[in-house]
């Protein structure tokens, strides 16, 4: 008896880790959902380098024509790929991106407030 019950098999566009230790680099690949992460892909559709370069850019390359084709023929998307495609403008922005953005902004505001607080305190003490 298999440990994991058999699942429905379908095509999915997802990230495959191709970096080494502490240097992530991803291929955007089309795979069967049941195949291993770094299995030989059905098709490679792009790359994603999550480490910002010297210009503070994260580089993503997309084979737009083929991605459109696979979207049309019903391939599923993994969440990170959905987020990337959302940011690229190919699909609508992913809801979770908005939530992260909101959280980041809140955090930043809180930080700014906490920095402003001691400064004001110092000023009042001086005066």
């Amino acid at each position: 008896m298999p440990r994991i019950p058999l699942r429905r098999s379908f095509d999915i566009i997802k990230l495959a880790y191709h970096g080494c230790n502490n240097r992530p680099f991803f291929h955007i690949v089309l795979l069967k959902n049941i195949s291993k992460r770094n299995a030989p892909p059905i098709e490679m559709l792009g790359t994603y380098d999550p480490m910002p370069n010297m210009f503070n850019e994260k580089l993503v390359s997309l084979d737009v024509d083929r991605i459109k084709f696979h979207l049309a023929s019903g391939a599923a998307l993994s969440k990170p790929v959905e987020k990337l495609l959302g940011l690229s403008g190919l699909l609508p922005v992913h809801p979770m991106s908005y939530i992260t953005a909101k959280r980041n902004r809140q955090k930043q505001e809180a930080q700014a407030e906490s920095q402003a607080q001691p400064a004001e305190d110092g000023k009042s003490e001086e005066s």
């Binding site: 910002p52 850019e57 994260k58 993503v60 084979d63 737009v64 024509d65 403008g89 609508p92 953005a101």
Partner: protein, 354 residues
């Protein structure tokens, strides 16, 4: 009701989507009418000489102009095929008949003439500042920008879609420098560097110009930059001006840059010293071609008017004389040089016609 929701909700995105899709079709237009320049715009000569803000590119690609420019360039085989860096390999010896040798020579000439392709003369490209989408809700989604490059099979570098999602949530077409970098990353070209070489910085460039490494600078610039890159335009124009003022026009003869040099000088109406150089070297037909080029580039000038009335089979001396009479600034020197050339031509009657 349920069916209507997706249609209504997608309207905003689908427009964005089609806009992005249309991007692929959009090509860089060559019709930059304004002279909007790069940071180092003070390097360019005063706009009064800049031919009233016309776009030089359509004029440059005109067949007649190209023909004149390639005529002027000259074809010194030893210079074109001269010492080049390449891999060491054993020479090949073959026994050929006279006819085969002739064929080989014509083939070699064709091959060499490809090296003389003149780099296009264009106005600097304009940055595209209109964002594709502004999304303040997405601000701070990440600390760095995301650059998305279309690597669809068969897309050419000039047509490649590159968009950038900035950290404040704005999606825009990537600026030219980012595009160039992405092209170099995803479609690397031999001889081109990922970052602009320091050679093209102001002081290094001046030093190299003072060392008279003109051809090296121009070759390297051709490799590194697109022809409408402001850096390319700045560098090449600086070199052209240095050559013109130093009178080193002959250095560029029989290279691909001579046509560009002549076009630049004629376009800015500063071709007198080039003309003088040609006359001093007894290149009468070249001088006449240069004056004809002047007539084509400045159809409103007095010179063009007189040239139009001139009979088509009049000699090159007459053509140059027209220029000296109407538009030259070095009138007396040109007149003297023309006279000297004429006398020399009458002397041995052969007329070294190029």
């Amino acid at each position: 009701m349920a069916a209507s929701i997706p249609f209504r909700s997608t309207s905003s995105y689908s427009t964005l989507f089609t806009r992005l899709a249309n991007l692929k079709v959009r090509r860089r237009s060559f019709a930059h009418t304004s002279k909007a320049l790069c940071a180092s715009s003070e390097e360019t000569p005063p706009s009064s000489s800049n031919s009233d803000g016309r776009d030089p590119f359509p004029v440059f690609v005109d067949n007649k102009v190209q023909h004149l420019l390639s005529n002027i360039t000259g074809f010194d085989i030893l210079k074109i095929a001269g010492p080049h860096k390449k891999h060491l390999e054993k020479p090949k010896y073959r026994l050929l008949t006279d006819a085969e040798l002739k064929g080989e020579m014509t083939k070699a000439r064709e091959r060499l003439s490809k090296r003389l392709q003149i780099p296009p003369y264009m106005n600097p490209r304009k940055p595209n500042l209109t964002p594709l989408a502004v999304d303040p809700d997405l601000a701070q989604f990440d600390t760095s920008n995301y650059v998305f490059t279309d690597v669809t099979f068969g897309v050419k570098d000039r047509d490649r879609t590159v968009v950038i999602r900035e950290a404040d949530g704005t999606l825009r077409i990537a600026p030219w420098d980012v595009r160039d970098r992405m092209n170099q990353i995803y479609n690397p070209r031999e001889g081109k560097e990922y970052l602009k070489p320091q050679m093209f910085d102001e002081q290094n460039l001046e030093r190299m110009i003072s060392e008279k490494k003109y051809v090296y600078i121009l070759d390297r610039a051709c490799c590194q930059f697109e022809p409408d890159d402001p850096d390319f335009i700045r560098t090449t124009h600086r070199v052209y001006r240095a050559i013109d003022s130093a009178g080193d026009h002959d250095d560029l003869r029989s290279t691909r840059h001579f046509g560009s040099l002549a076009f630049y000088l004629v376009w800015h109406k500063t071709a007198d010293s080039l003309l003088l150089d040609m006359l001093n070297r007894d290149l009468s037909s070249d001088a006449a071609d240069l004056v004809r080029l002047y007539g084509i580039l400045h159809p409103q000038s007095a010179c063009a008017g007189v040239l139009g009335q001139l009979s088509p089979d009049s000699g090159s001396t007459a053509v140059v004389q027209v220029y000296i009479d109407t538009s030259s600034t070095l009138t007396s020197e040109l007149q003297l040089a023309l006279q000297a050339m004429d006398d020399a031509g009458k002397g041995h009657r052969s007329g070294l016609n190029k």
